[in-house]
């Protein structure tokens, strides 16, 4: 008999950081709810996550103790509110390893963050057009990298959320630029085979989803980033589904912009983030005009504040930002590596369990590698609406429909899918409840 010696320093199973799921669940008041007489089984965290008491407390405390507008007053409450708001910015920056808190722009959500970048492009393009016809103007300083016109190209993929499709379609319409996209393989992976042609000297921006909200695929971006650098384009990563579930390091990712949304990461609704490299944000023209984004205003014209203020016109979602800071603290407390590992185990378990359901077809990667805990499927030819309804009667909350990613449904030839998605509080018991529920669906529609 031979014994296998484990080389020292090799990470072992037990070295993986873990946490006590039952204790974590106790932090989420909503998880005690019953739905239709059954314990709540919430499998829709990719849609929006639940919020722990730690976040809800901060939200309430902000309004009860520190409520005031930010950046506009010398009084004590105003100072406290401003400090809390800016501290949240700092926490978010640290969370994604941004070199500076000034690289974090608070928005309403991911959608607004993507639109912000798209409108910066068209404003830059319009300004340079205006500058050409009526020189001299400040617009002549518009950065070449944000100028788009006929002949220029924007690249996305077939697995994007509508939030990362429609703003670029509209931008292409406004500027005359061409929209192109990466296809998706039968296994639900990004098809990079056309990379060299797709991303070329005409490409101005590549905007890609980091983790698909429908297929669960986590895209490896290194090859694409290298190509983007080669042709001098910009790279935006839609990290709406990755930031909540895995450690994200913007320096490591080497992107130019990332976006994410607070409500999917234990934070409140109404707050999202655009992270951009400082030098790029500084080169971007403003999008929304108003209070707080200016340097000086006269009736003849205005000059603008430096980022991030330049992109935060008007009173921002202050309490929401502060609560997002609390969410980041909560996630950091558990550890993003531990959360990622927890979900990886759940995903492996769920892929196995779902594979045992007769007539079930999984869309997207069927192995728990290069994918997250979001699994879409079809159950024979029962319509997802009916699947979701029967599951709801058993307390199991899944999402049904096209998941704001209709091109993916089209790609796989179905009008809709059923999706189960997991988070840090999900248990294998809940996956068992899903599988049992699917049995019930088969009974009703069999």
């Amino acid at each position: 008999m031979t014994t296998i010696a484990i080389p020292s320093g090799m990470p072992q199973y037990d070295d993986v950081p873990r946490y006590d799921v039952a204790a974590v669940r106790a932090d989420f008041p909503i998880l005690d709810r019953e739905i239709n007489g059954h314990p709540l089984v919430y499998l829709d965290s990719a849609n929006t996550s639940h919020k722990p008491r730690q976040v809800l407390d901060v939200l309430r405390e902000h309004y009860e103790r520190h409520n005031a507008n930010v950046s506009r007053s010398v009084h004590t409450l105003g100072t406290e509110a401003t400090e809390a708001y800016e501290a949240a910015r700092g926490k978010v920056a640290t969370f994604v390893n941004a070199p500076s808190a000034d690289e974090v722009v608070f928005t309403k959500n991911s959608t607004e963050a993507i639109n912000l970048v798209a409108y910066a492009f068209s404003n830059a393009s319009l300004r340079s057009a205006a500058a050409a016809s009526s020189a001299p103007s400040r617009a002549s300083g518009t950065d070449e990298r944000f100028r788009l016109g006929p002949g220029d190209e924007i690249v996305i993929s077939e697995m994007e959320h509508h939030s990362n499709i429609v703003p670029w379609q509209l931008l292409a319409e406004r500027t005359g630029a061409t929209l192109r996209w990466f296809p998706v393989t039968d296994n639900g992976r990004l098809d990079e085979s056309g990379l060299a042609d797709l991303v070329n000297e005409r490409t101005k921006i590549v905007s890609l989803v980091h983790m698909s909200n429908i297929l669960g695929t986590v895209n490896a971006t290194a090859r694409i980033t290298a190509r983007v650098r080669e042709v001098g384009a910009l790279l935006l990563l839609d990290c709406s589904q990755s930031v909540p579930h895995m450690p994200i390091d913007v320096v490591d990712l080497d992107a130019d912009f990332i976006v994410f949304t607070g409500h999917k990461m234990c934070g409140p609704t109404g707050i999202g983030v655009l992270w951009g490299r400082a030098e790029l944000l500084a080169a971007m023209p403003p999008v929304l005009g108003g209070g707080s984004m200016i340097e000086t205003v006269s009736m003849g014209g205005s000059t603008f504040a430096a980022p991030p203020a330049r992109f935060e016109a008007g009173t921002p979602p202050i309490a929401e930002a502060v609560a997002l800071g609390a969410a980041v603290d909560y996630l950091t407390g558990l550890g993003m590596r531990a959360i990622q590992w927890h979900e990886k185990q759940l995903t492996a378990y769920a892929l196995d369990a779902l594979g045992s359901v007769p007539g079930l077809r999984i869309f997207g990667p069927e192995v728990p590698v290069g994918r997250g805990g979001t699994i879409s499927f079809a159950l024979a030819d029962v319509h997802p609406h009916d699947v979701g309804q029967v599951l709801d009667s058993l307390g199991v909350q899944v999402r049904v429909g096209h998941h704001c990613a209709r091109p993916v449904c089209t790609r796989f030839g179905v009008p809709a899918m059923t999706r189960a998605s997991f988070y840090l509080y999900t248990t294998t018991d809940e996956i068992d409840a899903l599988v049992a529920g699917l049995e019930q669906v088969r009974k009703v529609f069999g």
């Binding site: 609406h385 009916d386 009008p415």
Partner: protein, 158 residues
């Protein structure tokens, strides 16, 4: 919530064995034909309804589509209830069906008027599914208008 109130036998029956499915050409030489395609953007349900009428009688209400049991059963019931009716009567049925579905479960359906349509009483209590049930009926309304038989006086409030 009782699942059985939503998925009544009648509905599952119409879903599994749809009546009059498939788009058909007009058989009467004087008929005008109108067609409408409606989609439910939130779930991707689709239905096409075609109406063949001489302006007095709906000689055929044919349909095709894909979607959940509720929308497909509703199309089957639509066909069954309205084919062969005179237009004024058809609109009374249409109105009664829309009123039932917009009634949040507070409207008691009249079986005389609605036939198998009464089975949708339970659906009215599931706001997320009301649109599924109404999809073919709204497509019908457009198709009928295109065939020149005017619009239903009722509007959806769901």
């Amino acid at each position: 919530m009782q699942l059985e109130s939503l998925y009544q036998e009648i509905i599952l029956d119409h879903y599994k064995h749809p009546h009059g499915r498939g788009l058909r050409d007009a058989t009467e030489p004087d008929d005008r034909v109108g067609e409408a395609h409606h989609v439910n953007p939130t779930c991707g349900d689709e239905v096409t309804v075609r109406v063949a009428t001489d302006g007095e009688v709906l000689h055929d209400v044919s349909y095709d589509g894909m979607g959940c049991s509720i929308s497909q059963a509703s199309a089957s019931v639509l066909h069954e209830l309205l084919t062969g009716r005179d237009t004024a009567e058809a609109y009374r049925v249409h109105e009664a069906f829309v009123a039932l579905l917009s009634g949040r479960g507070q409207v008691t359906p009249d079986e005389e008027v609605l036939g198998d349509g009464v089975a949708f009483e339970g659906v009215a209590r599931y706001p997320a599914r009301v649109k599924c049930a109404l999809l073919p009926w709204m497509a019908f309304k457009d198709a009928a208008a295109r065939a020149g038989v005017g619009a239903s006086p009722s509007e959806v409030k769901a």
